[in-house]
């Protein structure tokens, strides 16, 4: 019984310690996603041409390998 309580309290502690970091990471990822989609929407031509160029290079490398 005591062991179960200890495990529960440890899990609670770890959760309390990790939760702010997880929230922060979530906020950062959401912000990054917003920035990326915003940039793509603002410069669609540049992004598409860049993506085609990157794909072309990857295709060339895959062909050589």
């Amino acid at each position: 019984m005591e062991i179960a309580e200890q495990i529960e309290s440890t899990v609670r502690d770890v959760g309390a310690r990790v939760r702010p970091q997880l929230d922060d990471a979530k906020r950062r990822l959401t912000s990054l996603n917003g920035n990326i989609t915003g940039y793509i929407k603002e410069n669609p031509g540049r992004c598409l041409i860049g993506a085609i160029a990157i794909g072309f290079l990857v295709g060339k490398i895959a062909r050589r390998a």
Partner: protein, 136 residues
């Protein structure tokens, strides 16, 4: 004095030729750039690229990467075969697992129903002894 003027004009001639050539090159480059811009604008309008990008930015980037990959000649390569094999494996798993789940649940329901029916028939028979399953 005349000689001097003649020399000056002779010296200037090549530079004039260069400037004319440069002007022609510049003009043709401008024309080519205008044509390219026009073609790109036309393509954008025809394919509604901006709308597509606004609707699904990551998907359009992935599509552009795929187009570039194909243009780069990467379609018949071991990397492509690996990617296709991985995709097929994942797709088959995703498609087959729900089907298997459904089949198993139907089978379990059928077995459960049979068990219930068996129990009920046992109850109805009362004191009659049920046949063992090996004899059925």
């Amino acid at each position: 004095m005349r000689r001097m003027v003649a020399m000056e004009t002779q010296e200037q001639k090549p530079s004039n030729g260069h400037s004319e050539e440069g002007g022609w090159v510049n003009e043709s480059a401008h024309k080519a750039w205008d044509r390219t811009r026009g073609a790109v604008a036309e393509l954008k309008r025809a394919a509604a690229i901006e709308e597509r990008v606004n609707r699904n930015p990551y998907g359009s980037i992935a599509a552009a990467l795929g187009i570039g990959y194909v243009l780069g000649g990467g379609i018949f390569t071991p990397l492509t075969s690996r990617i296709v094999a991985l995709g097929l494996r994942i797709g088959i798993r995703l498609a087959v697992l729900p089907m298997l789940k459904d089949e198993i649940s139907v089978l379990a329901d059928a077995l459960g129903g049979e068990g219930e029916v068996g129990e009920a028939s046992k109850g109805r028979r009362g004191s009659k002894a049920a046949k063992p399953s090996s004899e059925r």
